[in-house]
């Protein structure tokens, strides 16, 4: 990690993202924003508020509702010199731009023998918490980690959000940058202009000796809260924040797992085929015979998400569920 965190200043996750966009746009003329309502509206979740006023219509582009075009045009611009940051309002709508992201952006560099780069970022918001229903709440990061050529990022703190977004914008590959809708108001230490977090490196957010929780995005905070509660009972939990989901930093995971010998993989996406399976399978394989308990996954069940805040809440692992799962791991 390069750069400095501010000890005095605190910002929200939303503001940290805006700082990253602002600073990168200041530093590099080729960085542009495009998407639905990113300009005059300031973004559906207000991340880009003020940037149109600051950078003008040439660099902050309100597009028609055309998700495939947004990603596809961002790619075309990226191939000829731009560094576009496209916003897709909800992960669920990325379903409309899958060709552009998966068949095109992810493959341009390889299939054209290295002649073109695709330095674009697709920012997207996902997750539950608003009772937004089956078409506005899905967590689909697992799909994209299965696509060679894409990089996938899912930060949990304002400082990581800023540092990773800056790294993503500077990176020469297509990056899917995933923001959890519950994180926007969350406050944390602010990062200064030189703070850039390299892609592909996980972060141990809390050290511990008894159990490793591997997680990302909003669930890092749930894991940290559970760890805090468990520490009162003398249980020492290490929390690994993956931050980057492709490529996966399994070295950090295996180091932690090797020392605690007990692993819980925690995520909001539904269980079957989720990215937790990849991590669990790799840990199980690499540390065969060295673990004190089976690798457990704690995830949403395989259910369509109801548009009902209360029902939704029961489906997503919360602090209590994590505490129970850790205890269970310890007792086996």
């Amino acid at each position: 990690m390069t750069g400095t965190l501010s000890s005095a200043r605190t910002v929200s996750f939303r503001d940290a993202l805006r700082e990253a966009l602002h600073e990168e746009m200041e530093a590099d003329e080729s960085v542009i924003l495009l998407g639905e309502d990113v300009g005059r509206y300031g973004g559906a979740y207000a991340v880009s508020r003020g940037l149109l006023e600051r950078f003008g219509e040439r660099r902050v582009i309100d597009t028609p509702m055309s998700e495939a075009l947004i990603v596809g045009a961002a790619l075309g611009a990226a191939m000829v010199g731009a560094r576009p940051v496209a916003e897709i309002m909800y992960m669920d709508f990325v379903t409309l731009a899958m060709d552009n992201l998966v068949n095109q952006a992810a493959k341009v560099h390889y299939m054209f023998g290295g002649q073109f780069n695709a330095p674009l970022v697709v920012r997207v918001q996902q997750g539950t918490g608003r009772g937004a229903g089956s078409q506005h709440s899905q967590s689909l990061e697992g799909w994209f980690a299965h696509v060679p050529g894409l990089k996938v990022v899912a930060p949990s703190t304002p400082a990581d959000a800023k540092g990773l977004l800056k790294a993503a914008i500077r990176d020469n590959d297509p990056v899917l940058f995933i923001e959890h809708k519950g994180l926007y108001p969350r406050k944390g230490a602010a990062a200064e202009v030189d703070h850039v977090v390299p892609l592909g490196v996980a972060d141990v957010k809390r050290t511990g000796t008894d159990v490793t929780i591997v997680t990302w995005s909003n669930h890092v905070h749930i894991a940290l809260e559970a760890a805090e509660r468990l520490s009162a009972d003398g249980v020492s939990v290490e929390v690994v924040d993956m931050r980057c989901l492709a490529p996966l930093d399994m070295t950090t995971v295996l180091d932690s797992a090797g020392s605690t010998r007990r692993v819980l993989v925690l995520h909001e996406a539904c269980r079957t085929g989720g990215l937790g399976a990849e991590i669990a399978a790799t840990v199980g394989e690499q540390l065969f015979g060295e673990l004190a308990a089976p690798v457990r996954r704690l995830t949403a069940p395989d259910v369509v998400l109801p548009a009902h805040t209360e029902l939704e809440r029961t489906l997503i692992p919360d602090v209590e569920d994590v505490v129970l799962a850790v205890r269970d791991l310890l007792s086996s």
Partner: protein, 334 residues
């Protein structure tokens, strides 16, 4: 007695009253829904009202037959009610009850009623257009004369699926009417920045079908244009693009102050409130104030009863949250 309207449309007074009633019913329901939203009594945070646009839903649904199909949008309370959806099912759904239209799982953006051919509202803008088209395809393949109507906003017309569905319906002459509820904004994007061809009639030419641009604040004008489009579809003469020009009086959703709109523009549209225009027409036709007052009272009673029904219903159950993921559960492990 019938009224000879200024635009030479002949309708009888009972139709005028029915249309007015339909619009008031939607307006009052949504006013109540907004209250519930502010009181945090809805089970979801997602809610979009159609206040100002009532003439579209009411004018179009008035000419449909019971066997016809409808698909709708994130802004779909009006379509649901106008199509004949129960006020009680709507309120119970919004309040997350087992007795709601979708057992409390769909909320505002996913209203549905199979018994009246309402194939569902949809939270993906444009996502339901091919569903209406597919229903029309089946109607046509099986020689039925059922018509499918898809309501959607101006924003949906720039989604690729709009194009694919309209093109397919056109080339096969399917019995579907595409109703573009053009309230001139897709969230903050004004229509003139969404397209270089503002006329829906001209867009229709690009598909080789008939298109019509209609005043969406005048419920009779909407009804007339819809009647022609639906009749054409029913006679097997293919689809129509109906561009209905209207305006949402409020923000896109709660917390949108519509700073991207001009106050003067808003005023101009408010002056053309569809309820107001229809009320003037009612007076002109000699309908007495007590008629409109009594329908207001009936509607108020309907809403109160619906809310009581909703509150009496059980909250959608956690025990049931896993049922219906599949229609046919299997022997597998999930």
């Amino acid at each position: 007695m019938s009224v000879f309207d200024q635009d030479t449309r002949i309708v009888d007074v009972s139709t005028l009253v029915r249309l007015y009633r339909g619009m008031v019913r939607i307006r009052r329901a949504e006013e109540r829904i907004l209250e519930l939203l502010l009181q945090n009594r809805l089970s979801s945070t997602m809610c979009h009202v159609s206040i100002g646009q009532e003439a579209v839903a009411v004018g179009v649904c008035d000419v449909l037959r019971p066997e016809d199909y409808v698909t709708s949008t994130h802004r779909g309370h009006g379509h649901f009610l106008a199509r004949g959806g129960a006020m009680s099912a709507l309120m119970a759904e919004l309040m997350g009850r087992e007795t709601g239209a979708c057992r409390g799982r769909g909320s505002s953006m996913h209203l549905v009623d199979a018994s009246i051919g309402h194939l569902g509202s949809n939270a993906i803008v444009g996502g339901h257009i091919p569903i209406a088209t597919g229903a029309a395809l089946w109607s046509s393949l099986t020689g039925q004369s059922r018509v499918a109507v898809s309501f959607f906003g101006d924003g949906a017309t720039t989604e690729g699926i709009f194009h694919e569905a309209v093109n397919f319906a056109a080339v096969r002459g399917l019995p579907v009417v595409f109703v573009i509820e053009n309230n001139h904004y897709a969230m903050s994007l004004p229509w003139e920045r969404a397209t270089a061809q503002p006329s829906v009639a001209r867009k229709a030419e690009g598909y080789g079908i008939i298109g019509v641009d209609v005043d969406g604040q005048d419920v009779l004008a909407v009804r007339e244009a819809a009647d022609q489009a639906v009749s054409r579809a029913r006679r097997g003469e293919g689809p129509t693009l109906l561009g209905v020009e209207t305006y949402r009086f409020l923000g896109h959703s709660r917390g949108d102050p519509s700073t991207y709109r001009d106050r003067e523009e808003e005023q101009r549209w408010h002056a053309r409130d569809p309820l107001l225009l229809e009320k003037i027409r009612l007076s002109a036709a000699g309908v007495a104030g007590d008629v409109t007052e009594s329908l207001e009272r009936e509607i108020e009673a309907e809403i109160v009863a619906a809310m009581e029904f909703a509150e009496a219903g059980p909250i959608a159950s956690v025990d049931e949250v896993f049922s219906d993921i599949y229609a046919t559960p299997l022997g597998g492990d999930q």
